[in-house]
Symmetry: C2
DNA sequence: CACGATAGACAACCAGGTTCACTATTACGG
DNA sequence: CCGTAATAGTGAACCTGGTTGTCTATCGTG
């Protein structure tokens, strides 16, 4: 026996839905030449965007410290997904930009996410899926980044 | 500008929905005398259940190594949510059981989750919420534990 | 009764986060 | 025009939660 109220299932299903999508994405990404991509990388690179950014800015966007953002950038750099260059107008800053490989990873992700969404549409119907998205939009903050992934898991 | 296909929003919304619920839960749990509870703890304690379990078993249920389960149990023990006792029938085993405080935390969580779900029902309608849950059930694995929280984030 | 399987614990390591402290550079006000 | 405050990046020390590998104690069985 377990304590099992109706309300307990909702967060679990939301998380499982998220996890299923992310797992499938990365299985497919691995097949398409990006075996080292991690969920975090996708979020960070989406936040970096095609115009580039800096460590401080990325940290603010993702809701983590600039040091943590710096570590993430280092990792992405090691994987060849981004590169850094000094800003000529402000030599303190280092602009982080996606490499072609990074752009490719993002393009692949976009395509795969579309395919996964289409697969869901087949299972539950396009109409219901649109309703599901609309409903989630109503109960979640509009700000799509600031996942604060560490926050809900991390240090007190 | 960013790479922003329709499919990209879905996982984000699912995760944000999850996060909103979990954040609200823990804000409320803190107010109700459980300020040290973490998301992980709730999952683990739900998996431990009122009948108790062992480290190996808990690890299997949660989809992590027995060592990781052991560490989690240690933490929960330090917080006073569980206690361990040797199994008289098999002195290798140590049965982990919820303390009254642990049960209280789970009971509080159950009540709060119900309240949060009711709040969602007000926003999007009870009917739509039921549909949302039903649709998610169709696209997620039936096995509600095995979140593999580390898995989608962790080491390759 | 010996030997394989199991439960738990310990160590070393990794990833990703935090804070504190420091340097280099830029921006600004007296 | 210069001294000072603010900002960008980095490094170090630490925390949490995970991993694998190894070791011991106990159980169960041929």
């Amino acid at each position: 026996m377990s304590i099992d109220p109706p309300g307990f299932e909702l967060p679990l299903r939301l998380f499982l839905g998220f996890r299923v999508l992310i797992d499938d994405l990365h299985a497919e990404l691995a097949r398409q030449g990006h075996p080292h991509a991690r969920p975090m990388h996708g979020f960070a690179m989406q936040a970096i965007g095609v115009n580039g950014t800096t460590a401080v800015e990325l940290g603010r966007t993702l809701g983590v410290s600039k040091q943590a953002a710096g570590k993430t950038i280092e990792t992405l750099e090691r994987l060849g997904y981004v590169e850094r260059a000094r800003d000529p107008h402000d030599t303190r800053r280092k602009i982080v930009r996606l490499t072609p490989s990074g752009v490719d990873m993002l393009v692949c992700s976009a395509r795969i996410f579309d395919e996964l969404r289409a697969r869901w549409a087949v299972v539950i119907g396009e109409e219901r899926l649109r309703e599901l998205e609309a409903d989630l939009r109503k109960v979640t903050p509009p700000d799509v980044f600031r996942l604060d992934v560490p926050g809900w898991f991390g240090t007190s």
